[in-house]
């Protein structure tokens, strides 16, 4: 079974600074997707960024980028120029792409605080 581990229950960053959230996963599959979801206090899950395992290039979305290390099964999220609105719970998630459905397996989350 696939597992996702987020070893940092909480992180904090100063506004405008950069922070990196860690995620490792365990799978025997070679084709899969990795995601970072943001859950603000409103509780709605919002997709931040997605990485396809077959792509060597790291995904980027504006201030958000990932460091995907397939051999190490590591998938960290870097937030640059942190803003107060980035404060939220961040979940790393795994999705196997070779089956007939695409359930997400989540980590326990990292609570990010942004200090003004």
């Amino acid at each position: 079974a696939q597992t996702v581990t987020q070893s940092q229950p909480e992180m904090s960053v100063q506004e405008a600074e950069t922070v990196t959230l860690s995620c490792t996963y365990d799978t025997s599959e070679s084709d899969y997707y990795l995601f970072w979801y943001k859950q603000p206090p409103s509780r709605q899950m919002i997709l931040v960024i997605r990485q396809e395992a077959y792509k060597q290039q790291n995904a980027t979305e504006n201030r958000f980028s990932v460091n995907f290390q397939k051999a190490a099964k590591s998938f960290s999220l870097k937030i640059s120029d942190s803003q107060l609105g980035d404060a939220a719970m961040y979940f790393c998630a795994y999705e196997y792409s070779g089956g007939s459905n695409y359930k997400l397996t989540f980590g326990k989350g990292t609570l990010l605080t942004v200090n003004p």
């Binding site: 409103s42 709605q44 899950m45 999705e95 459905n101 695409y102 997400l104 397996t105 989350g109």
Partner: protein, 114 residues
């Protein structure tokens, strides 16, 4: 921008009662999911639904749970006899897997069982 909606936003029920949580998926999506998040814990997969049948379910999804698309638009999760431990946030998610593997989440329904 199309979005997934869920009703109610908050449901309070007594132990042993039946509840139905409703989700309206994005109109052209084909894959439907329910996830659960107990307060302070991670989001857990409950069930996936495609082509009018369950495609996968977790061990959490026991005989007390059922899902259906009664009218081809709404996607519902029914809990037949609620227990205290069913108190959680329930998220519906939908996806158009043929094109994108992204799942779009609804805002969730907070279920409180007393």
């Amino acid at each position: 921008e199309p979005e997934v909606t869920q009703t109610p936003s908050h449901q309070v029920t007594q132990m042993g009662q039946e509840v139905i949580l409703r989700c309206v998926p994005i109109s052209n999506h084909l894959y439907f999911y329910w996830y659960r998040q107990i307060l302070g814990q991670k989001v857990e997969f409950l069930v996936s639904f495609y082509n009018n049948e369950i495609s996968e379910k977790s061990e959490i999804f026991d005989d007390q749970f059922s899902v259906e698309r009664p009218d081809g638009s709404n996607f519902t999760l029914k809990i037949r006899s609620t227990k205290l431990e069913d108190s959680a946030m329930y998220f519906c998610a939908t996806g158009l897997a043929a094109i994108s593997y992204e799942q779009y989440f609804g805002p969730g329904t907070r279920l409180t069982v007393t």
